[in-house]
């Protein structure tokens, strides 16, 4: 096995305990949520139908049938996703800083590995991407499971069924799991760009101390300005000459350039400027 793959595996192992904890937490909270929301709906239905003497049809007329989105829009579902997102965002930074801080300075070891230092950069970025995609996949599996549990609790007359495809079309879920594979590639490509920009900003900070902190923030700001340049063009001149598809092409091009520059700078900093 080459050292890059070994490094990715190693980076995954280092986060595996927390990662599995995140998955278990998500599963537990969301499944509990399905039970709670479905049961409270059933309780209301029972109360109306058996105690108030409403017919089933009247109940649906007045309250509406339940869909999976009643659960998916609740904090039970959204909360764990937010926690996972925050944890991974935090880990984008910690995946580096944990090597510098604390009494065990693992960065010595990483920098002294007999492999290009860029591999360390890329392995960390690949691990982050894999962990994000892993959580997305787990969420897809959980959704299927939760949809089945929902159908099992709420009888067919009181619910409206939705397919997995219809569920993920809803609101922010469609950002995590985009409608088409093209968008999937574009969104997660942008995600990789974000990670590489953050890594480079962080390495600038590690290389130049407190001055580096400003430089790193500056680099992030420049990357953001470049990506937003078409928008800024409209805002400041009121004139914009590109068609929508051309703008998309431009943005993809800019994104690739920013990613390439970030990775190259990461390589440069790691070989020429970094200090333990």
């Amino acid at each position: 096995m080459n050292r890059f793959i070994k490094l990715v595996n190693f980076e995954l192992s280092r986060f595996m305990k927390i990662y599995i904890a995140l998955i278990v937490l998500t599963g537990l909270i969301q499944l509990t949520g399905v039970f709670v929301t479905a049961n409270s709906f059933m309780a209301e239905a029972d109360r109306m139908i058996y105690e108030q003497g409403m017919s089933q049809a009247q109940f649906i007329e007045q309250y509406g049938a339940m869909t999976f989105l009643n659960f998916a829009k609740s904090l039970w579902f959204v909360g764990p996703i937010a926690i996972c997102a925050a944890a991974l965002l935090f880990y984008v930074f910690m995946i580096w800083y944990r090597d510098w801080f604390g009494k065990n300075t693992f960065i010595y070891r990483l920098l002294m590995l007999p492999t290009a230092r860029l591999n360390v950069f890329l392995a960390k970025a690949a691990s982050i991407m894999l962990m994000v995609l892993g959580l997305v996949s787990i969420q897809l599996i959980l959704l299927t499971l939760e949809n089945a549990v929902f159908k099992w609790i709420v009888p067919v007359d009181l619910r409206v069924d939705m397919t997995l495809g219809q569920i993920v079309k809803w609101d922010y879920l469609s950002i995590i799991i985009p409608q088409t594979f093209t968008e999937f590639i574009l969104y997660y490509g942008a995600g990789f760009m974000f990670v590489s920009v953050m890594f480079t900003a962080l390495l600038i900070e590690r290389s130049f101390g407190w001055k580096g902190l400003l430089l790193g923030a500056g680099y992030t700001a420049i990357a953001a300005l470049v990506m937003l340049s078409p928008l800024l063009m409209i805002a400041f001149t009121g004139q914009y000459d590109l068609y929508p598809l051309e703008t998309l092409g431009l943005e993809i091009g800019l994104g690739i350039v920013i990613t390439a520059v970030s990775v190259w700078m990461g390589h440069y900093l790691l070989t020429k400027k970094i200090t333990v």
Binding site: L69, L133, S137, L140, G165, Q166, A235, Q239, L242, Y243
Partner: protein, 405 residues
């Protein structure tokens, strides 16, 4: 290998799950029900130019405690039903950004249309030319130097004339919008705008441009509300063709509505007004002559449904009335069909090619599409919108637009 189980596990889960999801969703898109116009009577050929847009939803009716749903937009045309999810990402970006008419112009005149606004009233298409007028610099913060951005494409020699000219007395105006663009026979470009002065009511202006000399040559205030006061609000709008806002006309017809003010915001903006009186006027572009339209009583408080160079069309609810601008007479009236179960037929109505196209508004059932002969009032086609075999229960369709090519 055993030591790499974590990496292998994550990669396998990601590839399988996400792969399966996208393969499955590619298949599932075709499972959405087909939406068809089922013939009740008439000739199905009449459907060919018609495009119906709407949305299909599952479990989506608002106002109920437990309902949440999702919906998806679709179009039905001669080729069948197309759901938005059946379009590729690139198609969606290309088609959904601008109105259809603008897309059409962009496809045909890609170079000329580059960098131009997406507002349909800014364009005029005649046999020989495409003309464009827009007000620039008004959305740019800190800049009040609003200007006309004018461009004319000669279709025959593919030459473009373009120039910018400051809006006369521009310091007076808070905002200026292009309402219509016209060209007279002697190559004079005329731009009708709705101007909001910094103090006072909206006015309708007409600016004349000499295309060859690339300059502004005249300005005319078409309407300026005189009887405005503390308690009255005046609204002005130009009545263009509803079927084609880029069409060419010899005159401009506009409506002035005077409404008693009910409520103002703290900044003095009118937030609510009662129903008021409206009057139509016609302004001849060649001569600059303006006169009120003396409409028969039953039409004077109606909205103009559509127009062409000779006539105005009104929909009174029971009839489509054709009013001739030359003779100032009602020249034709056709009766609209009514249906016993729902009474009056509320519909989106379009006039095109001497036919009246009507599509049921909202969620009335059954949802109908009717094509009438404009002269005769004969029903050329009548059909009901039908949802194909249901995949889920609780599904509804909502129709929101009708277009005729």
């Amino acid at each position: 290998m055993g030591r790499y189980w974590r990496l292998i596990a994550v990669v396998v889960v990601v590839v399988l799950t996400i792969g399966m999801f996208y393969i499955q969703s590619a298949v599932a898109a075709n499972e959405l029900p087909n939406i068809t116009v089922e013939k009740v009577s008439g000739n199905e050929k009449e459907l060919e130019p018609v495009t119906i847009s709407g949305s299909y939803s599952v479990g989506n009716s608002s106002g109920k405690k437990f309902i949440h749903g999702v919906s998806e937009s679709f179009i039905v045309d001669a080729e069948g039903t197309t759901y938005s999810s059946e379009q590729s990402f690139f198609e969606r970006i290309e088609n959904n950004f601008y109105p259809q008419r603008i897309n059409q112009l962009q496809e045909e005149y890609r170079g000329f249309m580059r960098g131009k606004s997406g507002r349909i009233p800014s364009f005029l298409e005649t046999e020989k030319r495409i003309a464009y007028a827009n007000i620039i610099n008004q959305t740019v913060p800190g800049k009040g130097n609003i200007e006309f951005d004018i461009a004319v494409l000669n279709k025959e020699n593919e030459e473009t004339t373009s120039f910018t000219v400051p809006v006369p007395n521009r310091a007076m105006y808070h905002q200026v919008y292009v309402e219509d663009v016209q060209i007279t026979d002697n190559k004079e470009l005329q731009v009708i705008t709705r101007n909001s002065p910094r103090n006072g009511m909206e006015e309708l202006h007409l600016y004349r441009f000499d295309i060859e000399n690339e300059d502004i040559i005249g300005e005319d205030t078409v309407v300026k509300p005189e009887n405005q006061n503390e308690n009255m609000n005046a609204r002005i709008s130009s009545a263009e063709s509803n079927s084609d806002l880029t069409a060419s006309f010899d005159d401009v017809i506009f409506k002035k509505t005077i409404e008693p003010i009910v409520k103002r915001s703290k900044q003095g903006r009118v937030t609510e007004s009662a129903a008021g009186e409206q009057e139509y006027s016609i302004y001849n572009l060649e001569t600059g002559e303006k006169r009120p339209l003396e409409l028969p009583k039953e039409l004077s408080d109606q909205e103009i449904l559509d127009r062409d160079n000779r006539s105005l069309y009104f929909n009174t609810g029971q009839q489509i009335v054709q009013y001739d601008l030359e003779s100032e007479q009602v020249t034709n009236q056709i009766e609209l069909p009514s249906y016993e179960e729902e009474g009056k037929f509320e519909a989106m109505t379009h006039i095109a090619d001497s036919k009246v196209y009507m599509l049921t508004r909202d969620q009335q059932s059954p949802q109908r599409l009717i094509v009438l002969g404009l002269e005769t009032g004969d029903i050329l086609f009548e059909g009901e919108i039908k949802l194909g075999e249901a995949v889920e229960k609780g599904e509804t369709i909502n129709l929101y637009d009708l277009a005729v090519q």
